[in-house]
């Protein structure tokens, strides 16, 4: 399996791990965008979408300046992307015999 997402994550991790000259810059923003692209391919409940959004935004208290720079352009990207998510209700989920 060749995965662009895994390649980006691995490259980001390894470049930080081996950064002995302090030249590392986080690429988390690019990684988040490609995960968003995958996320919107599948239908989700509104609760799931809100949770995903919280995971994009909610961890910002732990972001250092470098991560902030990297993810600044993710939020407008998400605002557009989430309008394309097919959502369904909890009732629909139950009628399909699945459990959330």
């Amino acid at each position: 399996m060749k995965s662009k997402t895994m390649d980006l994550m691995n490259a980001n991790y390894l470049s930080r791990k081996c950064d002995n000259n302090n030249v590392y810059r986080s690429t988390l923003g690019d990684i988040e965008k490609i995960i968003i692209d995958a996320y919107i391919k599948n239908p989700h409940t509104e609760e799931e979408v809100n949770n995903f959004e919280a995971n994009l935004y909610g961890n910002s208290s732990m972001f250092d300046d470098d991560i902030h720079k990297s993810v600044d352009n993710v939020y407008p990207y998400w605002d557009v992307a989430k309008t394309n998510i097919q959502t369904y209700s909890y009732d629909t989920e139950q009628s399909l015999g699945r459990t959330i």
Partner: protein, 179 residues
């Protein structure tokens, strides 16, 4: 594997000092309370000759690493001087030991899922023991892994991690359209 047997193995390890042994035993107890169904046979085997190494940052900037081949938990000497939560750091390392196989651990295979694997290890560590320090570990990997978990399902990551099942993870990533 009986937990008492694991403690006996730890006690007989000549490579680890008593303070570390005490802390490791405490962390194993906590781990088994959260995950009583995870088999400790691998941990028991590893504890026979596990070594604790303190290295400088020229090898790695990570505060903790695990060399599966040499069975060495490696602490970054420069980083460990900072105000990290040592119990948290050691729990992260122990998870790598518990889930190690071949030359890697968790759901990694041929370095395909290295960063995701580390992010998930840190998520499990936070879940089990929290973090009493303001210094956090592997922030980028944790954030990305949480988002990936929203795509593929936390249950898939959990199962793949504790059964060393990279194929389950790979097939689910494909099914869910993760490029």
């Amino acid at each position: 594997m009986n937990i008492e047997t694991v403690f006996e193995t730890l006690k007989n390890n000549q490579n680890i000092d008593d303070d570390f042994k005490e802390l490791i035993q405490e962390l194993i107890i906590i781990f088994t309370k959260f995950f009583p169904n995870v088999d400790l046979t691998n941990l028991n085997n590893k504890l026979k000759d596990l070594k604790i190494i303190k290295a400088n940052k020229l090898i790695s900037k990570d505060i903790i690493d695990y060399n599966v081949v040499n069975n060495e938990l490696i602490f970054n000497l420069e980083e460990i001087m900072k105000d990290y939560d040592l119990r948290h750091v050691l729990m992260h390392g122990l998870l790598r030991v518990i889930t190690s196989y071949d030359n890697t651990f968790g759901f990694d295979q041929n370095n395909r899922f290295t960063a995701l694997n580390i992010g998930y290890t840190e998520i499990i560590t936070n879940f089990i023991i929290g973090n009493e320090s303001i210094l956090t570990l592997f922030d980028d990997e944790v954030i990305a892994t949480n988002l990936i978990a929203d795509v593929v399902g936390h249950d898939v990551l959990f199962q793949a991690y504790f059964t060393n099942n990279a194929n389950l993870l790979a097939s689910t990533l494909i099914d869910k359209g993760v490029e």
